[in-house]
Assembly symmetry: C2
Amino acid sequence: MNNFTFCTPTKVIFGKDIEKQIGETIKGYGASRVLIHYGGGSVKKTGLFDKVVNSLESAGLTYVELGGVEPNPKLSFIHKGIELCKKENIDFILAVGGGSVADSSKAIGVGLATGNDPWQYASTGTCPEPNEVFPVGVVLTLAAAGSEMSNSDVITNDTITPWVKQGITSETVRPLVAFMNPENTFTVSKFQTGCGIVDIMMHTMERYFLGVGDCDLTERLAEGLLIAVRDAGRVAIANPEDYEARATLMWASSLSHNDLTGCGKPRYFPVHKLEHPISALHDNISHGAGLSVLFPAWAEFVMKYDTMKFAQLANRLWGVEMNFDHPEKTAKDGIKAMRAYFKEIGMPITMSELGLKPEDYEDIINLTTKNGTAKIKSYIDLGKEEIREIYKLAE
Amino acid sequence: MNNFTFCTPTKVIFGKDIEKQIGETIKGYGASRVLIHYGGGSVKKTGLFDKVVNSLESAGLTYVELGGVEPNPKLSFIHKGIELCKKENIDFILAVGGGSVADSSKAIGVGLATGNDPWQYASTGTCPEPNEVFPVGVVLTLAAAGSEMSNSDVITNDTITPWVKQGITSETVRPLVAFMNPENTFTVSKFQTGCGIVDIMMHTMERYFLGVGDCDLTERLAEGLLIAVRDAGRVAIANPEDYEARATLMWASSLSHNDLTGCGKPRYFPVHKLEHPISALHDNISHGAGLSVLFPAWAEFVMKYDTMKFAQLANRLWGVEMNFDHPEKTAKDGIKAMRAYFKEIGMPITMSELGLKPEDYEDIINLTTKNGTAKIKSYIDLGKEEIREIYKLAE
């Protein structure tokens, strides 16, 4: 295993009725004038927005609201948020929503803390990290991205052509506090629930593979998380108001991306890097849907480089009997079981289900590889040729 | 599942050669004059002490040393530490050792931060929590207590008769930083390694049982941790210098007691409460050895109140086939397997192996129950009669 540093200071306040604690808690972090940042307005329909406002007002806090964050949060809107916060003397940003709202809030925070355009911290593979922190909290309404407890922040630059989707990775973007009431995810659609399940699984599996040497504890924790998500996923899709299943998905979303499941492992995230250009160029494609199509195809393509690890997960997560003489068969059956599970929970598993045709591929591949000048680190480096083959495996 | 709050800000720096980072890291936490607190002197023999000193001096820090912490750290010695720190204007306490040294350091920190005797925060079940923090770091040399990342601090009051062993539970006692190099546990004896394995398993199992409703994710994580510890334990006992096995035990010690495996569960710790009076009255009995004897006996006594949960762990951890018609048989076989494992790793499983005879019981029971006036919360409350029966099951 590799050396590692692990530090997850985000305070998680989890359970029923925890909205009442929001105002006093963030006041404890120095909040007096709050930006309530949210998405398309469903938080107003469900009544959550009012609960948040009541809690802030009970604690004597004032607020300004900025709704309208889109999926794959856009840089131009983040700029708007930064300007609003400056004008209104905001001292705390409260994201009320899912990963996109959290990521938008974190990027606004980077802009305010550093005085720079947040894109400069995301624009290249060797970009500097922000070194100042602006206080951000999250009231979570979607179990998926894990942004509420993570050190990553993915934004889409819509001020350039083609759009580019890229992440800031820094300890400065971990939220101070996350308020997580599973009931606030009861209204999430079956499709978005499925996207979330896939995203959670992928945050865990992207860390699970590509390790060096023994990392048994980290892998066992990852498998435990994946098993719980697998089972809760089925229940939540069948019965969206099952509290315990929603609770499992919500807490798993945080633990899958706060780095617990990556301790001692390297951090490559090849499938995320394959997916981001797809949802950057095709804004209607959900991140989770893209991952659902790409991960099994990537796994098929690289499984020969780490057959025993793929077989191990097939056995422990998908219940495939271990074939010690032919572990590649076990591995392959595991990938088959993964696709079957994704299909069962209503997720796409082919490029055509994403609405992508072979003639769309080259634009995506060019963006992914910076016109053939860059490769994605994986078991083998993935350049144009390899990515084309992975796409074919997803047809 | 219950509502919960989870916040584990302790920074973990884990792996080989991490001692070099100690000085600069704690300087970042404001350290200038450091108390190096340690136990019986093995850290000097192994060369770790010199590495720590070199790292502090390279960062321009000065230090004072206080060795001599005993297992079951004593209040009188903690008082001595508090006086020394005041006299020497210490601004950071660095524990170099295992759980006893960490707990002693944390208690000295409580004394310095609050200006009060730390015992007043541990002396009753309804004691106040300290509300001020003194900076403490841990250089860990024993995978067992999990004190390096936990919010608990167990000390023994040797200024009264009989001695009383009790814990402070407070977020103020979580160390700021833990430096964890598995190589620093290579010299731990087989017996102490076994005690550590038991302690880690017990911190997980004490949280695993006594839950209400569904807590699948927390239980799956706990099972993953237990499986990894079970396997690494065997390897570390057989080959004390196996880095990966020592790494698993070390990281598991932190994760088993930082509350990850308790999210959504109540916190009762009945077997710890049964054990503490034993090692308080019999200072030669290791905490882990006491737990090894008591936990299986407690489990036998209470399994009828939660048969399916005991059967579940028997199946998932010990590989006992699930008998759905007679889950009590599965549960019982699981307890048998647990005892067999403890025996395999060299731990005692009977009271007589601890050196305790039936005529010793009443003194312990009187201390445990405050002369029959108090009971331990478990599936049923454990008073004098119930504790006597548990002891009998451990004969």
